[in-house]
């Protein structure tokens, strides 16, 4: 490839959206944008075409800190033997269960 042709590229941003009022934010995907305001607008134009979200967060992708696969053991295994942290651990009388 001829490197001389290389043109400007806007930085990459990660987009998080809130599907509904009160719901937690989820990762939607990414967009390229020159700055925060345009990143927000691009997120809206890309990821809300079908009313998927009512609110957005955008974060420069290089600011995301992620755990590595090597962390899998030390990070998550200790939680595997703590069933008491999960609601399914507790039995609930049937009558109560039905009420949602």
């Amino acid at each position: 490839m001829n490197k001389k042709n290389q043109k400007t590229e806007w930085p990459l941003w990660e987009v998080f959206y809130q599907p509904k009022d009160g719901k937690p934010f989820e990762h939607a995907g990414s967009v390229h944008a020159p700055d925060a305001e345009m990143a927000l607008q691009n997120a809206r134009d890309t990821y809300a075409r079908r009313n998927e979200g009512i609110a957005f967060w955008v974060v420069p992708s290089d600011q995301i800190v992620a755990s590595t696969p090597e962390d899998v053991g030390p990070f998550f295994d200790p939680a595997n033997d703590k069933p008491y942290r999960h609601p399914q651990f507790y039995s609930v009388p049937r009558a109560v269960k039905k009420r949602k």
Partner: protein
């Protein structure tokens, strides 16, 4: 409205006239914006321009639908496909060819700013419920169009030397078409008397202030108001560009008018 038509007299005639004026502006603007699909300066902006185009054509479609119901025409397509250029009521600025991204953005900004104040005031004035419902829904989208185009004016104006040159020349070229935004004719006066339209001159200063402040923030010069201003498109006196636009838009539908195309 061609030069042969008369001023609407009844309330319904006025309503149809207003619906078509707003609808024609939006259809023609949306049509020009849709020409960008697949040719935008970056993928994200391709999506953004298509969103505005879809909003515009959608607005036109619902305004036309209502007019069709009032006039007993078959549907919204009657107005888009079976009228000639002298019958179209859009302002001339919107029919101009797309030129480049700067020209599109400058036009989008001037028109969105105008639509913003127009819809804001119409919502407070229009008593017709169905019409007012549309205005409220469309107003939300207009606010976004204004924000998007304004942010781009700032970036192009205060960006590079080239972008500044391009957006400045776009505003200079478009300026002679801005006078028409605030031309008030007898048709509008009739609509105002039925609470179906507002006096556009009443927000001219606010519009000018917004445009001026934005251009100044973008380090651009505000073109001279004391120059020739194009006028008459709402009354059917268009530029030569509209005929070509319509020839393209209408050819298939008119070639086979008896066929089902929906």
């Amino acid at each position: 409205m061609s030069t042969l038509d008369t001023i609407p007299k009844t309330k319904q005639e006025s309503l149809v006239e207003v619906l078509l004026r707003l609808g024609d502006d939006r259809l023609i603007h949306g049509h020009r914006l849709s020409e960008w699909a697949g040719h935008g300066p970056e993928l994200e902006e391709d999506l953004a321009l298509a969103n505005v185009a879809l909003d515009m054509i959608g607005h036109a479609s619902s305004l036309y639908s209502y007019a069709a119901k009032l006039e007993g025409k078959q549907d919204e397509d009657h107005y888009a496909y079976f009228r000639d250029d002298i019958d179209f009521k859009n302002i001339a600025m919107l029919e101009l060819p797309r030129v480049d991204f700067a020209f599109t953005i400058a036009k989008q900004f001037l028109f969105s700013a105008f639509s913003y104040f127009l819809y804001r005031d119409l919502i407070d004035t229009v008593e017709d419920e169905q019409f007012n419902g549309m205005l409220q829904k469309h107003f939300k989208e207009i606010k976004y169009h204004l924000r998007h185009s304004r942010e781009w004016v700032l970036r192009l104006g205060d960006g590079t030397e080239e972008s500044k040159k391009r957006i400045q020349s776009a505003f200079n070229d478009l300026w002679m078409y801005t006078g028409e935004l605030f031309d008030q004719d007898d048709t509008e006066k009739a609509a105002i008397s039925h609470n179906l339209y507002v006096d556009v001159t009443s927000f001219k200063e606010e519009w000018m202030k917004l445009v001026k402040e934005t251009l100044e923030e973008a380090t651009l010069d505000v073109p001279d108001n004391d120059q020739y201003m194009f006028s008459g498109a709402r009354g059917g006196r268009h530029t030569e560009h509209l005929g070509h636009l319509l020839a393209e838009m209408q050819f298939l539908r008119r070639s086979y008018p008896d066929a089902e195309w929906k």
